[in-house]
């Protein structure tokens, strides 16, 4: 009992600088979980599609970027080209997969996105190869040094690329919220999410909006891909972080943008804390694979709509 309830907290107070370092690491991965969850939420809100392909889109965007640069295209031109590829992807997914399946049950659309995931995995492996690649961090002008702080006489290392990722993510979220709240297109997306029949009857085009949300999800995927790729390299293993976004969605609610962000940060930090102070000493480590899910499960038992989800009202 002492190991569970006392020792970890004693450790935290004994080395507050290490605690801060752990929280910072958690915050950075939390930001990335939040970004992936954001891609899910956007698509789910506007089309009720549970888009399982968001994770592979992150990998695909990052690989395309690195691939273009390897062909000798300048870094920022590659970014533009990659955005073009993501747009083409959004258009073709809407045309080929989603349009014929409009109005099918949720589970069928969900399966279709798993089909897309498999297709993109195979396609990406054939084109780019399966080996781990280095993200073009410096070429994009992202600083790679680190700041060393000394709070309470301890040591805290902040990698500048992580700081850049946090700032970029924050800007992306602010930009997205502004887009959704203050532009015609953004309002159309929200209208479709609120009531698709009413939205269609005032002349909002379902096809255009779907392409648009998938494209925005593609942009988010690219940002996530750059940020995560700068930390861990670009490979298909990245796809597993998509699973991390799922408990974030459970915790934050499938429809809430704020929920996705706060849920992501919470899960990022809590799972790091649990892993360092409880998981490694007591359970043999690697608890990060399931902790977030268990946390979300327990929360949902008491708040079935998630922390920020809309209250589900049952009708008979």
């Amino acid at each position: 009992m002492k190991d569970i309830f006392i020792t970890p907290f004693v450790d935290m107070f004994a080395a507050p600088d290490f605690l801060l370092q752990v929280l910072w690491e958690g915050l950075v991965s939390g930001i990335l979980y939040a970004l992936i969850a954001l891609g899910f939420v956007l698509i789910f809100r506007s089309s009720r599609i549970f888009n399982f392909a968001q994770g592979i889109m992150v990998v695909f965007a990052a690989l395309t970027l690195v691939g273009f640069h390897a062909m000798g295209v300048p870094a920022w031109t590659s970014v533009a080209l990659t955005l073009g590829v993501m747009l083409a992807l959004a258009v073709s997914i809407e045309r080929v997969v989603l349009r014929p399946l409009v109005g099918q049950p949720d589970i069928i659309l969900f399966m279709a996105t798993i089909g897309i995931t498999l297709f993109l995995i195979g396609f990406g492996e054939i084109i780019f190869g399966g080996e781990n690649k280095v993200m073009i961090t410096e070429e994009l002008g992202i600083p790679t040094d680190s700041w060393v702080l000394e709070p309470w006489g301890g040591l805290l290392i902040l990698e500048q690329k992580d700081v850049t990722a946090v700032i970029a993510a924050a800007m992306l979220v602010v930009g997205l919220l502004a887009f959704l709240n203050y532009t015609r297109m953004g309002r159309a997306i929200r209208a479709l999410g609120d009531d698709s029949q009413a939205a269609l009857s005032v002349g909002i085009s379902l096809q255009t909006i779907w392409v648009l949300v998938w494209f925005i999800a593609g942009i988010i995927a690219l940002v996530t891909g750059i940020a995560w790729g700068a930390r861990a390299g670009v490979s298909f293993a990245l796809e597993v972080i998509a699973y991390k976004a799922l408990p974030v969605l459970m915790l934050g609610g499938l429809e809430s943008i704020t929920g996705a962000i706060i849920g992501g940060l919470m899960i990022g930090m809590l799972e790091k804390l649990f892993e360092i102070y409880w998981g490694q000493p007591l359970l043999g480590g690697n608890t990060e694979t399931w902790f977030a899910f268990m946390l979300a499960l327990v929360v949902l038992l008491f708040r079935p709509q998630g922390l920020f989800g809309e209250k589900i009202i049952e009708r008979v």
């Binding site: 549970f50 080929v96 997969v97 014929p100 399946l101 099918q104 049950p105 949720d106 589970i107 069928i108 969900f110 399966m111 279709a112 798993i114 089909g115 897309i116 995931t117 498999l118 297709f119 993109l120 995995i121 195979g122 396609f123 492996e125 054939i126 399966g130 699973y243 799922l246 408990p247 969605l249 459970m250 499938l254 359970l283 043999g284 690697n286 608890t287 694979t289 399931w290 899910f293 268990m294 979300a296 499960l297 949902l300 038992l301 079935p304 998630g306 049952e314 008979v316």
Partner: protein
């Protein structure tokens, strides 16, 4: 023409509710069973047993378990592979004390227990939230298989190896067992489970599940205990999945590491259930034939055409083509292959008239 129903009169309710209201269905099933029980075992090669017949049966059984939960009771689950793992590890511990076939049948009980525990959230959450909740089982259990050394008897590799074991003097598991014996054991178990499932889904329990799936509030109002309905679905589904998991390792793979039960296996089973057709028993077989058979066919195509492609590339093409085919089948028939067969049968019955 083949399905002409003229002359088959039903004069009692019993006849109307029979398992095979049309005689031709029974004949067709008899033909299929003859093939499965007599002709395939006599003619199949070792390759056919190991790459087609045995895996198709095992995957069908796992998909049938999932179909009970997702197709009949309407609770989407993404943690199937983990429950297969529970069955396999339970079986590994059970064979130390009992006959291997008995151990396989009993191992499902353990996964049923775990399934009920992870089914409890279904009482409060629905749809995709529940699907994500079942992923908790997926990730937690696979982690447990890796960390809990007692499960694999503290061996250094962390994997379980299937020993040579006998039932009535015949080797049924391990490298010494012959494929034909294993095939018959699996076929026996799968046939038994299929008959059980068909009758379960036709009976009171099955109707309770379907009511829960179609509209849970209405089901509650007519006096169905939702908790009992959902938890029995989780229990029976996990039992079948657990037995399939035990067969998967002990009758086919011969060894297992924890990551064998990772999420891709769960998705394979889900594909089978959905492409085959949710809420259908036949669909599981059709889906399994497609999902298991497709890579085998795709692997032989480049050779037949005389192309030289590296096996890794073939693997990637396989993934890509399977992905595309899933989308393709969902578009042409979202209700699955079983529905496709039902439509064909309908057409055959009224042939040559179009309506």
């Amino acid at each position: 023409m083949l399905y002409r129903t003229a002359g088959q009169f039903k004069t009692s309710y019993k006849a109307d509710q029979a398992l095979f209201p049309i005689r031709q269905d029974a004949v067709l099933l008899a033909i299929i069973l003859t093939f499965a029980w007599v002709i395939f075992p006599m003619t199949a090669s070792e390759f056919a047993f190991q790459t087609l017949l045995i895996p198709i049966l095992i995957y069908s059984l796992a998909a049938m378990g999932l179909n009970i939960l997702t197709g009949y009771a309407g609770q989407l689950s993404l943690g199937t592979a983990a429950f297969m793992g529970v069955g396999a590890y339970a079986c590994y511990k059970l064979i130390e004390v009992m006959d291997p076939i008995l151990a396989i049948l009993l191992s499902g009980v353990f996964s049923a227990g775990i399934g009920v525990i992870f089914g409890i959230p279904s009482l409060r959450i629905k749809g995709f939230y529940l699907a994500i909740a079942t992923l908790a089982a997926q990730f937690f259990l696979v982690w447990l298989f890796e960390k809990w050394a007692w499960l694999y008897n503290y061996n250094a590799s962390g994997a379980i190896q299937v020993p040579n074991l006998q039932t009535f003097g015949v080797y049924v598991t391990g490298p010494q067992a012959s494929s034909v014996t294993q095939y018959y054991v699996i076929l026996g178990i799968v046939t038994l489970m299929t008959v059980l499932c068909i009758n379960l889904t036709r009976g009171t329990l099955g109707r309770t599940w379907k009511a829960t799936r179609d509209m849970d509030i209405a089901a509650e109002l007519i006096g169905i205990n939702l908790m009992r309905s959902k938890l029995t679905a989780f229990a029976i589904s996990s039992y079948l999945v657990g037995v399939a998991g035990a067969l998967f390792v002990f009758m086919w793979r011969g060894a297992a590491e924890p990551n064998l039960f990772d999420i891709p296996l769960s998705f394979d089973i889900l594909f089978i259930a959905i492409i085959g057709g949710l809420g259908s028993i036949l669909g599981n077989y059709l889906g399994a034939i497609l999902i298991v058979g497709l890579p085998v066919v795709l692997n032989t195509v480049p050779e037949a055409l005389g192309l030289e492609i590296k096996s890794a590339t073939v693997e990637h093409y396989n993934i890509m083509i399977v992905g595309a085919l899933i989308v393709f089948f969902l578009i042409i028939e979202p209700h699955g292959l079983a529905r496709l067969w039902a439509l064909i049968r309908e057409k055959l019955i009224i042939w040559p008239f179009p309506h």
